[in-house]
């Protein structure tokens, strides 16, 4: 392993320890739920969706970096490869992050297993790549993943109270945890749009016991009595959603490799529920324990057997006086004088389980009443939720939350609106009215008498005279002609809104053109579509 010398020079020339115990794997999908953002000309990658003019992949990468991880594997669809490569070169160059190592790969790279050879042989063409599940992609890249890893989505906006460090530490502190996942309590607006998930977990031991999609459930729901015997105090919930944060042991990939790929396509939908089910079913647990907990892999195993918090799993051994079956295998340790003859020990069943962290926003403290101030409504801070921007609703919610933080930070006094513009090239007409809780990107020109409220405007946009924007999100290179009125809409890149158009509650894909004087309400349109 290449060793870099410690540049701080504190300890002379002591090399830095480069090995990491975790690697981050970020999967970027095609954005199936993000219609109309994903169709049109110059479609933006799902990872580069701007939240407050900042791509969401930056948020995920910064979150990873804050926990100290330095190895990141980013797997993207082939069409997004160059865009992301440029983005990474700009924002996460090796100059600014010397020890960071981001490996960017396309879906189609990586080893091909036998199943891929079969399908391509049949001439099924382009389809498999599109519909390929996350588990199959992961299997392809298992040669790049040498340590335990944490699987993350590209569209996650983690709240301030949830740090990746704490999730990783929870995994590190449980020696028998094979998987640590995060379930979160979403805000109401998100829950309505997502499929409900039935989750069963043991609150006391933080074990995850079952994950099932509610749509597939019949009228009755059965729980095996084996599960109830093992975990009599389990909790069932339909409120929680899966955050797609999975801290996995490397041996899960070995387990996946031993199974038919057709059954285990998607991590979230198939693999994780299947793995979770195996953890409490005794037969499966024992069977998989060979693969998931190979002997001699954990150097601390014999230390853990001395711990006062270790649970008993061994059968009574009549003759030996050894502590547990999993002794250190070093040969010389067996040559003890006073010991009885040690029979060859049967391979013990090493227990394993899946852990879960439930992320709920803490109830914010009501601000202390300041005594005699009357008439000033004290803004109640709202709880900060974990939100994923993999649906339109999520994307909206994230941007709205961003706008709310803008307005609350600016305060009651009317101030200049936030400018995302280091070069000062935005040309804003003096008579334009821009509210304080708006964000304007660089290079944007705003015409006279236009009014912009609670909006996020990207770079190099042109807002014509008299245009009225309220609660809108404009990406880069959008042109709004004069006197257009836009309310609660998302306009993607390279879009043009004709003069005098009235748009309310719409989302338009990249490259779309709104004809002049059009009146559109509640539409989702892409390039070439008629309203």
């Amino acid at each position: 392993m290449a060793r870099t010398l410690d540049p701080s020079g504190v300890s002379g020339k002591r090399p830095i320890i480069e090995e990491q115990d975790f690697m981050a794997v970020v999967l970027v999908g095609y954005g199936e739920h993000l219609y109309p953002f994903n169709e049109g000309t110059n479609v933006l990658s799902k990872a580069l969706l701007p939240i407050g003019n900042k791509p969401i992949i930056n948020i995920v990468l910064d979150w990873i970096l804050k926990s100290g991880l330095l190895e990141i594997l980013l797997i993207v669809p082939p069409s997004n490869y160059s865009a992301l490569s440029n983005h990474l070169a700009e924002n996460y160059s090796s100059a600014s992050y010397p020890r960071l190592n981001i490996i960017l790969k396309k879906f189609t790279d990586g080893e091909r297993d036998e199943d891929d050879a079969n399908t391509s042989g049949l001439g099924m063409g382009a389809k498999p790549a599109e519909t390929e599940g996350t588990a199959r992609v992961l299997k392809r890249f298992r040669s790049y993943i040498k340590t335990d890893f944490v699987l993350l989505p590209c569209d996650l906006y983690p709240p301030a109270y949830l740090s990746l460090s704490s999730i990783l530490d929870k995994h590190r502190s449980s020696p028998s945890a094979v998987l640590t996942s995060v379930l979160y309590d979403p805000p109401e607006v998100i829950r309505e749009h997502e499929e409900a998930l039935l989750s069963a977990y043991d609150r006391r031991s933080s074990e995850l016991l079952m994950l099932q999609n509610m749509d597939n459930l019949d009228e009755d729901f059965e729980i095996r009595s084996a599960l109830l015997e093992a975990h009599p105090t389990l909790s069932l919930s339909t409120r929680l959603l899966d955050a797609h944060i999975y801290v996995c042991r490397r041996s899960i990939l070995d387990l996946l490799a031993s199974r038919r790929p057709r059954d285990l396509d998607s991590m979230k939908v198939q693999v994780i529920p299947w793995l979770v089910k195996g953890s409490w079913q005794k037969g499966l647990a024992r069977q998989w324990s060979q693969l998931l907990c190979p002997p001699d892999e954990d150097p601390l195993l014999s230390a853990l057997s001395y711990s006062t918090t270790s649970r008993v799993t061994r059968a009574p051994q009549p003759e030996s006086d050894s502590k547990s079956g999993a002794e250190s295998p070093d040969a010389f340790e067996n040559g003890m004088e006073n010991s009885q003859t040690l029979k060859p020990k049967p391979v013990p069943h090493v227990p394993w389980h899946c852990q879960v962290i439930i992320s709920r926003p803490p109830v914010p403290e009501p601000p202390a009443p300041k005594g005699k101030e009357k008439g000033k409504p004290i803004p109640v801070a709202e709880p900060e939720y974990l939100i994923r921007s993999n649906t339109i609703a999520g994307y909206w919610e994230l941007n709205r939350r961003f706008l709310r933080t803008l307005s609350s930070s600016v305060g009651a006094t009317p101030a200049r609106p936030a400018f995302d513009d280091p070069t000062g090239k935005a040309a804003i007409h003096a008579s334009a009215q821009i509210s304080a809780d708006s964000l304007i990107g660089e290079g944007t020109k705003i015409g006279e008498r236009s009014s912009i409220k609670k909006s996020i405007i990207g770079r190099h946009c042109v807002i014509g005279k008299g245009a009225k924007l309220s609660g809108c999100i404009l990406w880069d290179f959008v042109t709004v002609d004069e006197n257009a009125k836009i309310e609660n809409a998302i306009l993607c890149t390279n879009l043009r809104v004709g003069a005098g158009a009235q748009i309310k509650d719409c989302e338009f894909g990249p490259g779309y053109e709104v004809p002049s004087a059009a009146v559109l309400k509640g539409e989702r349109l892409v390039l070439g579509q008629e309203a």
Binding site: G12, R14, I17, E19, D21, L300, L304, V312, E333, N338
Partner: protein, 487 residues
């Protein structure tokens, strides 16, 4: 300092600069209070000044609050008292650094008056952690900062994992933690490469130091761990004194082997030998009482049971497991013993007396043994030992010699650990936590306090069962002397 007196006595003259002398009495009082003989003199001076100040205050009246507030600002309560003290509502919040600066002629008097005694200002406890009133010298168990550890590049990932395991309690117990530490360092040495122009035996201790410090922050090592680290450093040093020139790989291999031998001899083999010794004292029909869970005591019991059953399948002895909050380690011991078929009773510390009357032997585990024979073990051990002595039950401590240390402790507070988060997992106490302030953790009005260890004086221990046999507690220094000489 000597010009204080004439200025204070000449209270009429307002010409002298007011800020300096006013600062000096405060400075003399607050930080040097515990400084030693010099502080003794000063406090005598201060007492005189106080008396004079009180007399002047009786006359001066209005200026006093400002001086009092200013003094409170610099007092030992610190800024908390400033914000919390209700004796000084509006004055003096910001004047702590400018005691008499804004004073008029009359203010000169106030500024020169020395700080009032602490009894004038109500002593407000700092909000959290309130345990600092008695235990501020003890480490509190906090979750480790793994992100900074990784980013520093000085801590091996296995050591980070070990730190997390120790801090969370998954790895608990002196044997477990010491073994874990040595195994982790084995891997660290295996992965180590000395930089150019550096010799392994000189550089390796420096490589290991940040890791040892970080582990200490996760969980203090204790005597056993400290002895193990000292031994390891000694081994590394010995490499430098060798005659023959070994390659670095050979040296590393030697160290790895030495660590494995240490674990084998002083923990594993010692435990086996202790079980062998203890088993000879356990007869059929005995009732043995144990406290919480100790790996070596568990081993003794299981070995004694299997030996007894081999000799006579009908023979039996009974075990009483005494347990205590918050850790409830005895539950796992109960499971382990029941799995072997040993008849076990489980009880809490509160039911100790009636059970002791039918106990024949108390077998305790140890975290450390001090040179005066006192035992440092899980909190509650002392209670069991003292009560057993009342009932004339022999108390035997099963301990490996690597836990012997040359230090001396006279009470359980000198070295201990404070656990402030124990109510989080204890379901029975949910109501108390919620009632504290309606907030998570009970808020500022609730202090959760649990000490991890306690000290049992030597007179309550009948004998120590070690791998070198049964020895009295008073012979600990002899054993440590022997091992230090290089056994």
């Amino acid at each position: 300092m000597s010009d204080e007196k004439p200025e204070a006595s000449g209270s009429g003259s307002g010409t002298a600069p007011t800020s300096k002398p006013a600062k000096q009495p405060k400075a003399a009082k607050a930080p040097t209070d515990g400084a030693g003989a010099k502080a003794g003199e000063k406090s005598a001076k201060d007492i005189k000044k106080e008396k004079r100040a009180a007399a002047v205050a009786a006359r001066g009246g209005g200026e006093d609050p400002r001086a009092a507030a200013a003094a409170a600002g610099a007092g030992p309560s610190g800024s908390n008292a400033n914000s919390n003290s209700n004796a000084n509502p509006s004055l003096g919040q910001s004047t702590s650094s400018q005691p008499g600066g804004a004073g008029t002629g009359g203010g000169n008097n106030a500024a020169r008056r020395p700080a009032p005694l602490l009894s004038d200002v109500s002593y407000i406890l700092p909000p959290t952690p309130s345990h600092s009133l008695f235990f501020s010298h003890l480490p509190i168990l906090t979750p480790p900062a793994t992100a900074t550890a990784i980013q520093s590049g000085k801590i091996h990932p296995l050591v980070i994992r070990l730190g997390c395991l120790m801090a969370s309690g998954a790895l608990r117990g002196s044997n477990a933690r010491t073994t874990g530490m040595l195994l982790a360092f084995k891997e660290v040495i295996r992965d180590y490469e000395s930089p150019e122009n550096a010799v392994l035996w000189k550089d390796l201790p420096g490589h290991l130091s940040p890791m040892i410090a970080w582990l200490e922050g996760c969980r203090p090592k204790g005597a056993g761990g400290g002895n193990a680290i000292r031994w390891l450093k000694g081994e590394i040093n010995k490499l430098g004194e060798e005659e023959e020139d070994r390659t670095e790989d050979a040296q590393k291999q030697h160290l790895i082997l030495s660590i494995a031998y240490y674990i084998r001899d002083r923990i594993e083999y010692a435990g086996q030998q202790i079980a062998f010794e203890a088993q000879r004292k356990i007869r059929a029909g005995d009732v043995i009482m144990v406290y919480a869970r100790s790996s070596v005591v568990e081993r003794c019991l299981i070995y004694a049971w299997t030996k007894m059953r081999e000799a006579d399948p009908e023979a039996t002895f009974e075990v009483i497991v005494v347990d205590s909050a918050p850790l409830h380690e005895g539950r796992n011991l109960l499971e382990a013993l029941s799995a072997q078929g040993i008849p076990t009773t489980y009880t809490l510390l509160t039911s100790l007396s009636p059970l002791l009357s039918r106990t024949s032997l108390v077998l305790l585990g140890a975290s450390a043994l001090y040179a005066n024979g006192s035992l440092h073990a899980r909190a509650g051990t002392a209670l069991v030992a003292m009560l057993a002595k009342e009932y004339r039950v022999p108390v035997v401590v099963a301990v490996e010699t690597y836990k012997f240390t040359g230090g001396v402790r006279l009470d359980g507070l000198g070295m201990n650990e404070v656990d402030v988060n124990w109510m989080d997992e204890d379901r029975g106490t949910e109501g108390i936590v919620k009632a504290g302030d309606g907030k998570e953790g009970g808020g500022a009005n609730l202090t959760r306090l649990a000490l991890t260890y306690d000290l049992t004086p030597a007179e309550y221990i009948t004998a120590l069962c070690t791998e070198i046999g049964f020895i009295p507690p008073s012979s600990v220094p002899t054993v440590t002397g022997k091992t230090a000489a290089g056994a």
